[in-house]
């Protein structure tokens, strides 16, 4: 079997806020088609790491390689704003609180990127948006505004918005944490479908069932470092790091 090359790799990523170290040198590779989840207690740096990957937060040190590019750099010089924007486009990002554009319909939310970033004409952009909304089972709601949709529907629109840019990898930042319990499943189902289609995904989540059953690999973060990582069976079945053992003990029995 041929192991595909890493499409995303992070090396020595560090970040501190006002002297407090949040990320203390993170190395991670994600291969094409892999679904990797990051778990860990709150405050372990999971979300910050995700936001550093697409430079929503600028890392203090370290390299992030996506495809053939190094984030924030053109060759050996600092990237211009325009180049950085184009690099960011290689990532999709799904936020905990959806962050849909409230003044636009679902269709317009998804079509905005193709239209204004990729420079497609209105018809082409709308067609692509409709296709992506169909993919997340929301075609019949495409003319509604976010305020007319449920939380689960909003998050699926957000996923479609990310998909419409044809990213190399999608970063999910606790995508179900802001949802009412009964709406969680529809979002997880959408993500599971994407994973089975071969979409490369990096998912910060508290949904242990998703980590256990959908992810190819699980990364456990604690105190700003990767404390343990490996296939889900190994991490959940035979955790080695005492912090991971404690973390798993404190989870609800349903996980």
């Amino acid at each position: 079997m041929v192991i595909p090359p890493a499409i995303l790799s992070a090396r020595g990523v560090r970040k501190a806020y006002a002297g407090k170290v949040v990320l203390d040198g993170i190395d991670l590779d994600v291969r094409q088609g892999e679904a990797v989840t990051i778990i860990g207690a709150s405050g372990s740096g999971k979300t910050t790491f995700l936001r550093c990957l697409n430079w929503l937060e600028r890392p203090d040190a370290g390299d992030i390689r996506i495809d053939t590019q190094v984030m924030g750099r053109t060759g050996s010089v600092v990237a211009t704003e325009r180049v950085l924007a184009a690099q960011r486009r290689l990532f999709g990002f799904v936020f905990q609180r959806f962050n849909l554009f409230p003044h636009l319909t679902a269709l317009q939310n998804v079509a905005l990127g193709p239209r204004r970033v990729l420079g497609q004409g209105r018809e082409a952009a709308d067609a692509r948006a409709e296709r992506e909304l169909r993919r997340v089972q929301l075609a019949e709601h495409m003319h509604k505004r976010p305020s007319q949709l449920s939380g689960g529907q909003q998050q699926r629109v957000a996923i479609a918005r990310a998909l419409a840019m044809e990213p190399r990898v999608i970063l999910f930042d606790e995508p179900t944490s802001a949802l009412d319990p009964e709406l969680v499943q529809e979002v997880l189902d959408t993500m599971r479908a994407l994973a089975s289609e071969g979409m490369t995904m990096l998912v910060v989540t508290h949904e242990m069932r998703f980590a256990r059953h959908v992810a190819d690999r699980v990364v456990f973060m604690a105190d700003g470092v990767i404390a343990e990582h490996g296939p889900p069976e190994a991490l959940f079945g035979a955790p080695a790091d005492p912090r991971l053992q404690r973390f798993l003990r404190h989870l609800e029995p349903s996980a």
Binding site: E81, R88, F93, L100, H103, A158, A162
Partner: protein, 217 residues
């Protein structure tokens, strides 16, 4: 004292001319101020430090000096350096430059008050900062801008009475002219106050209509 109704009946149509002039000055200066304020407000949000510094200085100067002095600067001081404006345009320019500074702060504040996740979402689909501003932040900032902009237009309309000091024949000046010939300050100034009050009431009403007609989500 006796309230002289005759001078009131005499003054009312004359003052109506003044109302027209006040309205005209306010609308022209308001539109010009809006244009200045939008440009300056967007400049203050740009990533160019020099540009932000220039706007900062402009706003500080306007806030830190009396409007009457600004009017005199445009009308009496600019001619010294070769810029000679007739009193009407000097007045319009002074009012516009004055309100432009306040409007730029309204624009900056409204755009800044859009939730932070909006800009992050737009950056995440590969937009540049200017794209984020134009396609995501500004469209959401229009509605919250309306009430403070109306306030500003109301202030501008009231401030236009200061143009009487450089002989622009607006409402206040028209009233003063009648007082000078008929010695009825009590009646005329009351009437002036009433005229301004009605004018402002109409503006407030129109603003509420405008605010309601803007899309909500």
């Amino acid at each position: 004292m006796i309230f002289d109704w005759n001078v009131v009946w005499y003054a009312m149509p004359l003052l109506a001319h003044g109302v027209v002039m006040t309205l005209q000055v306010s609308i022209v200066a308001g539109l010009l101020g809006l244009a200045i304020g939008l440009v300056a407000g967007l400049a203050s949000l740009s990533s160019f430090r020099v540009l932000r510094g220039v706007v900062r200085g402009y706003v500080d100067f306007i806030r830190g000096t009396p409007l009457l002095i600004q009017i005199f600067l445009v009308f009496f001081a600019l001619p010294v350096v070769g810029v000679r404006l007739p009193e009407y345009w000097a007045g319009v320019v002074a009012l516009a430059v004055n309100s432009g500074a306040y409007i730029s702060e309204i624009v900056r504040g409204s755009v800044g008050s859009v939730e932070k996740g909006q800009a992050e979402a737009a950056l995440s689909i590969g937009m540049t900062r200017s794209g984020v501003l134009w396609w995501v932040l500004l469209p959401q900032a229009w509605r919250p801008m309306v009430p403070p902009l109306t306030n500003d237009l109301i202030t501008l309309t009231k401030n236009s009475s200061l143009l009487s000091a450089i002989s622009v024949y607006e409402l206040t000046r028209a009233g003063q002219a009648i007082i000078a010939t008929h010695f009825a300050p009590f009646e005329i100034y009351l009437l002036l106050a009433l005229y301004y009050y009605l004018l402002i009431s109409v503006l407030s009403w129109a603003s509420r209509r405008l605010e309601r007609s803007l899309p909500q989500w």
